[in-house]
Each structure stands twice: as structure tokens, then as C-alpha cells.
């Protein structure tokens, strides 16, 4: 699915945007499913835009969205980037409100953080066109790697608030790459890298799926267990997925069951 060059792009910069991975026609039913799940979660009341709405788990609740995960364009791409045996961490669907300040998903609770040698990818689909000034993802390329990531530890460990000018500029002017996208594009980015978003409209729609490289060491396994114990949804396979006749889905959630993790109930 990805060329050698695209893999080099991801390894070097920490992300890759695959343009128009899904066609306009494919995006219509996907968008409808996305909107339906969020509307159902609000009991079909209008979104009031006061704060972000986030539904977890997300793709697991709908057949079409689950098929998207099994699709070669997503699954094989993830396998190319993380290797076989990657684990499913979870998914969420969001209506965003306001800016997302600089941070990295690397940080977990109590100062714990993703080991530098354990890959973790978030796959994002935006259902509205987004650019640098309307809420697209911004990343600092290369910060998924220890050498650069550690230099910006104060950002991902403590965050960078709107009034923080420790680098001499407003935080929305921090040097970065803006990953502009339109519906059908898919963004794959390393969750360890510093990222943010500014200027997005209220109700900006985004679906995210997170996966983790197959743990190879005791440190990795212990990290997974700690994250599981701190969270309510992460690494908890959906019942529908556990019972699904799908080697790809089983490959992602089977090891979680082997670790004794709970199955999440349908939402």
C-alpha cells in the first residue's frame, strides 16, 4: 500500500498523509455512520458547541467502520509501518471545540510515557476540509524520535498553554508542519510526536483509531498493562470484535484477551 518512499517519510518525520485514500463516494456512507454514532450519543439533540463531544469506543460499534479497519488500505498500511501483530488500542469519534494545545500522546498518567522504542500510531480521518488556519493537525516533524523528542520534553510532559511563550512566540506560531486535509485523506501519525491544532470551527469532525506496535519486551508489556489499568476504554476489545470472524481483528485484539483485559460492552 505504501511505497518505500512513503515509509521513509513516516520513519523520518513521524507521519504520512495518504491523499484520497477513500473516494468521495466511499466517504458518503462513512460520514453518515460517523454522524449517526455521535448523534445517537447525544440522544439526537443538536450539538451545542460548548465543549468537545467524544465517543469511545467508536468504530467498533458500526459494521461499515469496522470494515474500514480491516480494509487493506488501513490494515496493510499499519502493518507496513509497525510490523505484524500490532495491537488495537481503541478509537474515538469527536466533535471538536476550540484549539488543541501542543502535547504528545506519549505522556500517560503519573509521568509514565510511551517507551521510545515502542511504536504507536493514530489514524485520523477528518470529515471536513481542514487547513493550517481551520483546525488541521499540526506536528513538529521528527519529535517521535528520542533525540528530538527529549529536547521538547517540557512541551509534552507539561503541555504548552495558550499564554506560554517559553520559545519567544505565541504557541500557535511554533514551527511545525500543518497537515492540511480534505475528506478521504487519511493521516497516520506517531502518537509520540508533538501535535496540536488551531483555528478549527466548533463541531469539527474527526475520527481517530489508535494502534500499538506488538510489544517485544517486558518493559513494553508492563507499559501496556499500566495504560490499561489507568484508562476506561483503552486496550479493551469490543464484544462484537471478539466474536467477529476476522483474522485481522483477532490478530489485534487476541493478545489483549490473552493478557486478561476486559471486553468492552457495546455503547
Amino acid at each position: 500500500m505504501l511505497t518505500t518512499e512513503q515509509i521513509a517519510h513516516f520513519n523520518t518525520f513521524g507521519f504520512i498523509v495518504v491523499r484520497q485514500l477513500f473516494s468521495e463516494e466511499e466517504m458518503i456512507p462513512l460520514t453518515k455512520e460517523f454522524d449517526d454514532v455521535l448523534a445517537n450519543a447525544r440522544d439526537n439533540k443538536p450539538f451545542d458547541g460548548k465543549e468537545r463531544q467524544s465517543v469511545q469506543p467508536f468504530v467498533e460499534n458500526r459494521e461499515l467502520l469496522t470494515q474500514m479497519v480491516e480494509d487493506d488500505r488501513i490494515f496493510i498500511t499499519l502493518e507496513q509501518l509497525l510490523g505484524p501483530g500490532f495491537l488495537w488500542a481503541g478509537s474515538d469519534g469527536n466533535l471538536y471545540v476550540g484549539d488543541t494545545q501542543w502535547h504528545a500522546d506519549r505522556l500517560q498518567g503519573d509521568g509514565d510515557h510511551l517507551p521510545w522504542d515502542l511504536g504507536s500510531i493514530k489514524v485520523c480521518l477528518y470529515f471536513d476540509p481542514v487547513d493550517a488556519n481551520t483546525g488541521c493537525l499540526r506536528v513538529i516533524p521528527g519529535t517521535h524520535r528520542r533525540e528530538f523528542g527529549e529536547r521538547l520534553e517540557s512541551i509534552w510532559r507539561n503541555g504548552l498553554g495558550p499564554d506560554d511563550k517559553r520559545y519567544g512566540v505565541p504557541n500557535e506560531n511554533l514551527p511545525c508542519a500543518s497537515l492540511e486535509s480534505r475528506p478521504g485523506d487519511v493521516v497516520f501519525f506517531s502518537q509520540g510526536m508533538c501535535h496540536s491544532s488551531f483555528g478549527g470551527s466548533n463541531g469539527r469532525r474527526m475520527l481517530a483509531m489508535s494502534v500499538l506496535e506488538k510489544p517485544a519486551t517486558n518493559e513494553h508489556i508492563n507499559f501496556v498493562k499500566r495504560v490499561y489499568s489507568r484508562t476506561n476504554f483503552t486496550f479493551r476489545p469490543a464484544e462484537s470484535w471478539v466474536n467477529r470472524n476476522s483474522p485481522r481483528i483477532h490478530g489485534m485484539v487476541g493478545p489483549l484477551l490473552d493478557m486478561g483485559f476486559d471486553i468492552s460492552s457495546p455503547t
Binding site: 520513519n11 523520518t12 521528527g142 519529535t143 524520535r145 528530538f148 508542519a177
Partner: protein
């Protein structure tokens, strides 16, 4: 800026012996700010001198300057060699654009953090494209055409799977009067600029304290002199003006101490 711009334009015109700029290839004049007192004053001005001293430490040296009329895009490159020795020696370029430049009209683009390993080294596949561009018209399209015609021997024009203009860079948009300072190891480029886009640079190096630093200083000098001889319309065998070499202005004298000591003219 009006006065600085007039002086800059006059130097470039003088280098062409008053002939119009044809826009076929970049014009670059080295030893640029040394040619006019008003421009020379820039490097002793606190607004330039103090930030450089803050970044490079005291005893920093003058490397040189150039004034340019650009043509086409500037491919991604680093001003340093692909040599670990350069990681230990920092040079800073101060760029002043004489007209507004934006992301689409030729402003500087940088890859943040690429002045350091491993990101710096991993971008090496881009360097070949710059070499190809410097021998040709300077247009990105020509690089792609050359790659096609050279077949298997050509470097990959898109080693990261995207066009060079789509590489994840940060655009340093600027207006006349803005000053851009950047570590010369940083990978940088520019796209979309108009023919004859005007910019001049002031280049500084930290005080060299090791044999390796001295080697870098000498290498940069040789490369700058070669570039002057290639890109200027007027022949020169000297990078620094006599006025600069014999200046008694304290800040210039301090900055020229290393070149004089090394016999670099």
C-alpha cells in the same frame, strides 16, 4: 529599509556593469555588505550583533555575506556538509528579504530541528537534488526532467514520496525589515519566488577553538570564494574587502580576527 534596499540594488547593478538582470540564472555577489558603509553598519548594529553574540558566544567570527537576485525555487539543502565534524561548529545566517515573501512567493522554508542528528542525516537524499539544481536553471521542474532522462543513474526526485514543495517544512514569511536568523545546518528551501527576488545574507561562525573547527572555517571560506567566482558577474579572487580586513572598528576588528589569523582574504 529604503536606504538599505537602494544600496543593495546598486551593488547588484554594479556587478552586472549596469546591464539589466536577465533572469536566466541566479545572480549572487559575495562580500556584499562589505561594499557599502551603510550595509556594513548592520553587523555592528546592536540589533544584529547582540543576538548573534547571544547565540554564538563572544569572539564569534565574520564568515561573509552575499546579495542575491534569485531565480526559481531553491531545492532543499543544508549549508553544511554531510559530515559529523560540522555538528560541533555552529554557523548562523541572517537573511534580510527586500520584498515581502510568503509561503507561495519564495519565503524561506525550514524543517525544524533538522540542524541536529538524526533528522539532519536522514534528509541526505534531498542533497542530490540541490546539486542537480545548482548546475541547471534552478527550477524544480528541471530536476525532475533530469531525473527522467538520466534513468537509473538519476537520484530519486521524491525520496520521501512527496514533491519537494510538499515536504513538511515551516514557512518563515517575512516583510522587509524582518530579520531571519537560522542555524546553517538546518535544511531549508524556498518555492514559488518571483524571478529576481532580492535577499542578502550576513553569515557568522562561532569562535573556532579546535583543529576541526578551523578545518570547517577554511572549507567554508574556500567554498564561498569558489561560489563568488562562479556566480558573480564580476571576477574576484578575494572574499573580504581590504576595508574590512583593515577595519579598526572594534566589533569588525573582533569579527575579523580569525580570518586574519588564518590568512583568509
Amino acid at each position: 529599509m529604503d536606504a538599505l534596499t537602494r544600496e543593495a540594488d546598486s551593488i547588484l547593478r554594479e556587478d552586472r556593469n549596469g546591464k539589466p538582470f536577465l533572469g536566466e540564472k541566479r545572480q549572487a555577489v559575495l562580500g556584499f555588505i562589505e561594499k557599502r558603509p551603510l550595509l556594513t553598519n548592520l553587523i555592528t548594529d546592536d540589533r544584529i550583533y547582540q543576538p548573534i553574540e547571544d547565540l554564538l558566544g563572544s569572539g564569534f567570527m565574520w564568515v561573509g555575506s552575499d546579495g542575491n537576485l534569485y531565480v526559481g525555487d531553491t531545492a532543499w539543502h543544508s549549508d553544511s556538509r554531510a559530515d559529523p565534524m560540522e555538528y560541533d561548529y555552529t554557523r548562523i545566517k541572517v537573511a534580510m528579504y527586500l520584498e515581502p515573501v510568503s509561503k507561495e512567493t519564495g519565503c524561506l522554508r525550514v524543517i525544524p530541528g533538522s540542524h541536529l542528528p538524526p533528522l539532519h542525516e536522514e534528509l541526505e537524499p534531498m542533497r542530490n537534488l540541490r546539486r542537480m539544481q545548482s548546475d541547471y536553471s534552478g527550477k524544480t521542474e528541471s530536476v525532475r526532467e533530469i531525473s527522467k532522462s538520466d534513468g537509473d543513474h538519476a537520484p530519486n526526485p521524491e525520496p520521501f514520496g512527496v514533491a519537494p514543495s510538499e515536504m513538511p517544512g515551516f514557512s518563515l514569511e517575512s516583510l522587509p525589515g524582518d530579520v531571519v536568523l537560522f542555524n546553517q545546518r538546518l535544511w531549508h528551501s524556498s518555492f514559488g519566488g518571483r524571478t529576481g527576488r532580492r535577499m542578502f545574507t550576513l553569515n557568522f561562525g562561532q569562535k573556532p577553538t579546535t583543529a576541526e573547527h578551523i578545518e570547517v572555517v577554511k572549507m567554508v571560506y574556500e567554498a564561498s570564494l569558489a561560489a563568488a567566482q562562479k556566480m558573480q558577474h564580476t571576477w574576484t579572487d578575494q572574499l573580504y574587502t581590504d576595508r574590512f580586513l583593515t577595519s579598526i572598528e572594534p566589533r569588525i576588528k573582533n569579527m575579523m580576527a580569525v580570518p586574519l589569523e588564518l590568512g583568509l582574504r
